[in-house]
């Protein structure tokens, strides 16, 4: 029999077969750390494809050596020079040009930061143009479609050596004592801000950090843009919540909002309340909540401290979106509730205590001990404890049955001992009520069972009824269809049209009219 010789690329030859790390061989799954190592790559946006022919840069004289009369002209030339973009994925391409631009940017930063009188009106459009050309770009697709900001390394922007200096320049420009909002507003307009906001989706945390400070300055200095910025942030959040569930800059935007909320005038405008109820609260539903929860909770508490009347919206909103299956999120929610309770007004507490403590009771009976533990920690908080004590008559009956049951059933000893402490606290608060509830526990249990039996009975009856009725209805529907199909007949259509002509507001036609 003829034997075929294996070509040199056969797997048996160790030189050509791609090597597999031994760890990978064991279970067949690449380990996360290895995947990550591969992702430690930087990427760049697709902007270079649009640059026609590469311009050769020639170094200009230094700004500090320029005579005062030529300073502005030179500044302007440098700005124009910095509009040239370079390909950073090819790290050896045009090194000379890259260095010239870097030096020019450094000088511009330095000049705008230190010397006074540089920023004159004709420079504004040039500066904004240079900034726009460099920073505004379509962000590239994520290297890793399931990018998890908590686990994976972000992909870094390749052109950062230049980009950082451009951002730095922009920041110094905005912070310069010479900066004139009245001149800037002609160039930093709505379209500019919209593009700026879109950059917050960048995977590179360094870029988002700059953007955060810059947007904050823009919001602070250009009053005419404030409402627009808030509205566009709203849109970004709404898209994030209801459409894409993906946006890298949520935490940064929330951080800015935290300080904006701080400055809201009282009484709160309807727009701001709407933002709280329809945007901030629904943000809690996001899968990636853990990344921005701290900033979000801060915003929520800010709102409460501004105006206590929003408390009820907040608590009821959180209860509506309470996590059903994700215990990690449940712990975050409990943390936020504690932050809220820390600053709640007693009058507001009374309005929400009932639904709130029903939820807390549900958390205490969670089989996940961290959830139960987090909920039970509320009793270690002195302010919360004082609120509970004041409203013991209402709260104790809400949680008693759960505490009693879980104290006997929970698998985790820590939880059981925490519950004993809570029970003891309640006993000391109101021993009479406590004894009554203990005595009636069994009776209540019986009542509950009875209600359940009654419900089952009701539904059984309803379903039997449905079976009988469905038979009749299918029969009727069949007849009905037969008649209704005649509606499509030309004769009936003509009849309808005629009647419509007589009186266009005539009543809807009943099938009984179909006696034509």
């Amino acid at each position: 029999m003829e034997t075929t010789k294996l070509p040199p690329s056969s797997p048996s030859s160790p030189t050509t077969s791609f090597s597999v790390p031994s760890a990978e061989k064991v279970d067949g799954f690449p380990r996360r750390s290895m995947r990550r190592a591969r992702q430690r790559r930087s990427h760049s946006s697709s902007q270079f494809r649009y640059q026609s022919s590469q311009v050769e840069l020639t170094p200009l004289p230094l700004l500090k050596d320029a005579p005062v009369a030529e300073l502005h002209d030179l500044f302007c030339k440098k700005l124009q020079q910095c509009c040239v973009l370079f390909d950073f994925l090819d790290c050896v391409a045009d090194l000379k040009g890259k260095e010239i631009k870097r030096a020019a940017l450094n000088e511009l930063v330095e000049s705008v930061a230190t010397s006074r009188g540089v920023l004159i009106e004709p420079l504004y459009p040039e500066a904004i143009k240079m900034i726009s050309v460099n920073i505004f770009r379509t962000l590239p697709p994520s290297e890793n479609p399931e990018f998890d900001p908590e686990e994976d390394e972000p992909t870094l922007e390749a052109s950062w050596p230049h980009l950082q200096l451009v951002y730095e320049f922009f920041l110094r420009f905005l912070e310069s004592p010479d900066f004139q909002p009245s001149m800037a507003k002609r160039y930093v307009d709505q379209k500019f801000v919209l593009q700026l906001l879109e950059l917050f989706d960048s995977e590179d945390p360094r870029e988002r950090e700059y953007l955060k400070t810059i947007l904050h300055r823009v919001y602070g200095k250009l009053l005419g843009l404030r409402a627009y910025i808030r509205k566009q942030i709203n849109n970004i959040f709404l898209r994030f919540i209801y459409e894409t569930e993906h946006f890298n800059g949520v935490a940064e935007l929330l951080e800015i909002l935290g300080s904006i909320i701080n400055g809201f005038a009282l009484p709160l405008k309807a727009e701001h309340k709407q933002f709280l109820v329809r945007v901030l609260i629904p943000l809690h539903t996001a899968k990636s909540l853990s990344i921005f929860h701290a900033q979000l909770a801060y915003c929520v508490v800010q709102f409460m401290e501004k105006d206590a009347t929003v408390t009820e919206y907040i608590i009821r909103g959180l209860l509506k979106y309470w996590p059903k299956t994700c215990t990690q999120k449940e712990v975050m929610f409990l943390g936020e509730i504690e932050e809220i309770l820390d600053v709640i007004e007693p009058s507001q507490f009374i309005r929400v205590q009932e639904p709130l403590f029903k939820q807390i009771a549900a958390c205490i009976s969670s089989p996940h001990f961290q959830v139960a533990e987090r909920a039970l920690y509320f009793w270690n908080n002195e302010y919360i404890l004082s609120l509970i004590e004041e409203n013991c008559q209402v709260i104790l009956p809400l949680v008693f049955a759960t505490l009693y049951r879980v104290s006997k059933e929970h698998w985790n000893q820590t939880i059981v001992s925490l519950i004993y402490n809570v029970l003891k606290t309640f006993m000391e608060m109101n021993s009479k009520l406590f004894d009554d509830l203990t005595a009636s526990y069994k009776v209540e249990k019986q009542k509950e069972l009875k209600r359940e039996r009654e419900r089952a009975e009701l539904w059984r009856g309803l379903e039997e009824h449905q079976e009988r009725r469905m038979q009749m209805l299918t029969e009727a529907a069949r007849n009905h269809k037969r008649v209704y199909s005649r509606l499509a007949s030309p004769r009936w259509q003509l009849f309808v049209k005629r009647r419509q002509l007589c009186d266009p507001r005539s009543k809807p036609y009943l099938l009984s009219d179909l006696s034509v």
Binding site: T138, P140, P141, E463
Partner: protein
Amino acid sequence: LEGSISKMAGADGDDSLYPIAVLIDELRNEDVQLRLNSIKKLSTIALALGVERTRTELLPFLTDTIYDEDEVLLALAEQLGNFTMLVGGPEYVHCLLPPLESLATVEETVVRDKAVESLRKISQEHSPVDLEVHFEPLVKRLASGDWFTSRTSACGLFSVCYPRVSSTVKAEIRQHFRTLCSDDTPMVRRAAASKLGEFAKVLELDYVKSDIISLFTALASDEQDSVRLLAVEACVSIATLLPQEDLETLVMPTLRQAAEDKSWRVRYMVADKFSELQKAVGPEITKNDLVPAFQNLLKDCEAEVRAAAANKVKEFCENLPEDNREQIIMTHILPCVKELVSDTNQHVKSALASVIMGLSTILGKDNTIEHLLPLFLAQLKDECPEVRLNIISNLDCVNEVIGIRQLSQSLLPAIVELAEDAKWRVRLAIIEYMPLLAGQLGVEFFDEKLNTLCMAWLIDHVYAIREAATCNLMKLVEKFGAEWAQNTIVPKVLGMANDPNYLHRMTTLFCINALSEACGQEITTKQMLPVVLKMSNDQVANVRFNVAKSLQKIGPVLDSNALQTEVKPVLEKLATDTDMDVKYFAQEAISVLALA
């Protein structure tokens, strides 16, 4: 008929039995899960109430109390779409509009979408008059709602009522749609853009030209790329509606612009919809415009776009006008394809590998051998297993044109390498193609080159692979016949019964389970059964209870004599085993085989 419906309503007057309060209590239950259960049985409740009270009591209650968990609302929105008969048939269907209107304004997208879906469904049950009196005003209210949610929902309702209303109302609807296309919030513009094609389809051609085109052009140059990319989708429907002579002036400028959009998402969308676009614009425009556009997409700087375009290579080539298809492919498409074979991104290469074989049928034998074969061979040696796998899984296309033998020299190392890939999912995938390959390569080649691999998989350390390997053997026997099995695989399989590793011994049993039927009574009785019976003395309980299971499985293949004299005593012995699982399965086998 009216009489019969009211009789139905009267007939269920068991008011005393089910007071509405009790039923509503169920819908209000504190426990979400119970509330959800009740809502899911809303039709039961409505039936119990009868049509009259459903209209006058249940629906108002539902309309008033719409503030609940989204899950409950979703169930409600779905239920109401099927409620027509429960409120008394089509002449009362408009009673369902108020609760659905509220649901269509809810924040949560799934609830809103479901409400719109139900509204679209029941719109068909409205008479033309009811549509104008009840339905259309609802659409208008939604279209001019304060919050974006109601306006988004409105976008999905225009097209269902437009064809059935008077021309004045039609004009209003067009106006509303226009307004929403330039809405302030991008969410609404996105909704409008995604419904643009659907709406264009129900419009009169003149209005498509006068209204839709300007909206299309505006949405396609929106400031947000998420809006622009949706306009690409609409482009397909619009181009299909217009006569050929208008396409150049009305659609092409926008399409050209989209194909070169600065956002890769838009270009991706163009690439993704390329075949549809190609069909919609016809052969002339394809030749002049789409071929260069397609070349650019294949060379795009973003891998996402290249991969989407690479996926379309075969379809695009297939749909080229036949008269100069070959010339276009050879001079314009193939050079790009050649570059993609060595792309830096593995997704691009594997997208190409999944379709490239299809080109051989289009280009014929000679071109395939001269131009495509080198590419196939290069991809068979690609470093990324997915690329190789995609080539192998599409071998049937080449087989028809040039025969698989041309490839077999390169195929073999590729298969061998995939068969030993470190990722078990890759190994699993290649196993699944084995029966196909065996069929195409023939029994001789198989015995020579692949048989060893198939046997090696039986002792893989991943169970899923061993299981797939077992199943693979069965398919091979179905292909090559019992005699082949007896000579080549059965001895090897049975040999494993003496392996020191109990997992391998169990594999013998699993193989026997799979093969007995295909091998037939004789081989099963003479060769397999003795081995199984012998294994009933194995010291590992797992093997013993698998013996019981195997006997149950192969029992039907055996004759009654073998069952009574050989199988029965062994099962009876196993039924007294010390291990309770062994006992259980032995007893089960005894009862299934009726040996008791």
